[in-house]
Symmetry: C2
Subunit: 537 residues, 2 copies
Amino acid sequence: MLASMTKLAGRSLIGFHEGQGSLKPLYATNPATGQQLQPGFIPATEQEVELAAQLAAQAFETYRQTSGRERGAFLRMIAAKIESIAGEIVERAGQETALPAARLQSETARTCHQLRLFAQLAEEGSWVNARIDRADPDRKPLPKPDIRSMLLPLGPVVVFGASNFPLAFSVAGGDTASALAGGNTVIVKAHAAHPGTSELVGRAVQEAVRECGLPGGVFSVLFGSGSQVGIALMKHPLVRGGGFTGSRTAGRILMDVAARRPEPIPFYAEMSSTNPVFLLSGALRERGEDIAAGLHASFTLGAGQFCTKPGLVFLPEGADAGAFERKLHELVEGSRPFHLLTHAIHSSYASAIGGRRALDGVDTVAESRATSSEGFAANAALFASDAQSFLGSGLESEIFGPTTLLVRHANRDQILAIARSLEGHLTATIHGTDEDLREFADLIAILETKVGRLVFNGFPTGVEVTHAMVHGGPYPSTSDGRSTSVGTQAIFRFTRLVCYQGFPDRALPDALKDANPLGIWRMIDGAMTRDLSSRPA
Amino acid sequence: MLASMTKLAGRSLIGFHEGQGSLKPLYATNPATGQQLQPGFIPATEQEVELAAQLAAQAFETYRQTSGRERGAFLRMIAAKIESIAGEIVERAGQETALPAARLQSETARTCHQLRLFAQLAEEGSWVNARIDRADPDRKPLPKPDIRSMLLPLGPVVVFGASNFPLAFSVAGGDTASALAGGNTVIVKAHAAHPGTSELVGRAVQEAVRECGLPGGVFSVLFGSGSQVGIALMKHPLVRGGGFTGSRTAGRILMDVAARRPEPIPFYAEMSSTNPVFLLSGALRERGEDIAAGLHASFTLGAGQFCTKPGLVFLPEGADAGAFERKLHELVEGSRPFHLLTHAIHSSYASAIGGRRALDGVDTVAESRATSSEGFAANAALFASDAQSFLGSGLESEIFGPTTLLVRHANRDQILAIARSLEGHLTATIHGTDEDLREFADLIAILETKVGRLVFNGFPTGVEVTHAMVHGGPYPSTSDGRSTSVGTQAIFRFTRLVCYQGFPDRALPDALKDANPLGIWRMIDGAMTRDLSSRPA
């Protein structure tokens, strides 16, 4: 047990130091009651931002040289520390988010699973993409030198906690785990909506840093606003990268900060996605009611505050969709009341729903009959429109909260025109029979250019943390559609290629030494192998 | 033989169309004589930029679906077409660049080697990074879906021809080859210094497009200025990425254009690098004269107009460096005259050399005694400074041309302080004995954070085109230090990850089908294999 856990200090964790500022504290609010939670959290000062960056840069000199085994032990220790105070975390996170305990327990488990998956990746070691092109002293006209490349970490990375994943995408979430596994040091800008949870998890990480004998600057958590502390961190010359999950507006501001620095740095923002769903006729006829139930569960999961929430549903007008529409209507009307995460999300949802209700060409099909006005309460709402009204409208933009929009189309051409018109999203989903899929092969081809994940006969919420997962997509769903923020390929975001030419074996990193002491997969003269000696000399 | 080759049209190649504009033509100049070369080349109009982008986007719908085998055949056909007119290319390129025929012949060979290397990569197919996480219907609490990911191309890519590689980094150079191998369509903005070479190579590619039965929009070459045609291309909403080799000023302008678009796109600029060389005492004592000869050859190669030119040489003051310095002095004084590529490079070189001569703390150690004033003639120059004068000065910036700067230091601390102060470069080189290397392990650790390629006891010019090559580095050497523009890993620049969840085998791309019909390396449930059935079910 961690003795320090019983009382929250409300101070930034700057390496092993505690924040000393005296700015006006920020308070979390219980979304279910609207009540302010104690204690206040003091925003980091400019000097503290500077200190965190300096410590992170110093610690990087040591931490970048740690072995995969050492990084694995560190990540596993973080997971163990979090598990040792899971009850306390779930309790505080429940107060700060109004999310049910079961969800927060499973999110805690997911967070620890992520940490252990990245531990495994670091320990196994092949992720570094080691490549060896051997010398050929007899090549004409010039001898060919020995060249060996691998991925190395970038340096101090800023991670922005996400409102909607107080654990799995916050202080010790996926961005932090992937950055640390790759050998980077991390400064977290804690999300203002769950500062207590952030402090608890931050202290768990801090204890792991200490017990693993690492320098304190490997990890810091700063409290404060995005516009002050967040931007100051992204502008700091010692910071080498950033990871963010949040709104399109905030994400784009930070993207621009990263791009306009004297030395621009990689910045991975996961911002905004409406996750279009295409319901094809055969599937609607065969299992319209099941699809309605699945869709309703998906778009109201977490009160509709998932980046993968299906917020746009394209379906044929007419009889095929009848059972689906009736069932969905009924489910929405019977929805329980939801509590949104923050006052800002609550206001935005109310205004977006109001705007949609008033819009020509959009019908309000169903609204939840739930009555609750406590805290940040919000009701599910279902809207409908048609292809003509949709094209060229602003209806593609994300509404964070328990709502979705049906768009009815008259024919195949309309659905392809809609697909072509889409901007970038994290996911697209198709429900269809085998026959539907054959008929709509060109729809898949279009969607491959629009999203990072294509889901067939499923729902986009529920993002597996695996090797093949892609949680990314073209702008504006992310700032960098080449990457994923979930799954093991997230480690590549905070790394870069370096090669060594003509180096003596002794001076090379272990991953590139002749004898392959780490036993990793490597590409030697273009062929994959785990052994050097197995290749022709 | 290509009949159309005998006469240059001076018009953009827009898919299978010829540019129709009537703007004022641009003329190339022979750098050896200063004489204007015929014909004039008509800049592309705004409408032609639009047409090229539209055609590239349309062609992408077809070209992205081609197999690796088809792309390989196309790239090999381009190489064959270039080889069939190699004599004509070398002749015209010689007039436009004043580079020796032997250099242009070997650059033509390198260009064709690059095309065939990327052909092989496309044909072999494993580069797509296929990953399969198999379903587990029995997983609790929820079944695990089947998820499969791979890399897909981005779309139309703009390639900027480089002045200093009229073949290997221009119309059918490394950027074009890697973009096409990955399934992207390409629009080249030809460099104004070698438009005739660009037209010849462009027609060779155009013939290959036609003979392979591909849509014309797969490839276009536009003439015109960077500030007009180049920026218009980078701003075009259908363009999905860019590759550039050139100056820091132009590169940064284009970076900012790419980052400030409504939808920012990946842009890979290879811009500016001074390629620091560290000469350690043991090596200087053992083979000072050899190092001097190697360094002189390297910094004057291609008239000092390589991005990997060693423009900064750190060495100990005192007796150890004596033989090295005397020999280098003598070689510089005896250097033949060089011709720079363009009027702009010639003026910049003259003004930079003049500036350096006048600088306090910098000595002019030696200048070539060659006398030539024809065309863009320029003489080799050697400068020297010391650690104190270097730190905090502007002496780190690149001078394009046959010059380098020696920086003498008094001790180990100074050399480490200098290394820590460096900005990003493409390469860093160390000359040392085994003992030197042991003593300077921390120097290597610092340089790993500063460059993309570390060279030991060699010289940075001469960039191998292989699997492990990294021709990239932190800003300002490139816009994106995570990437390389030379070698097979360049293919990853114009791709992004996409995953398929729950898809029937039939609807998956071949790379992800159960039976592994392409026989490629894949990661299945985290383990590398070329076979599906070999993995436990």
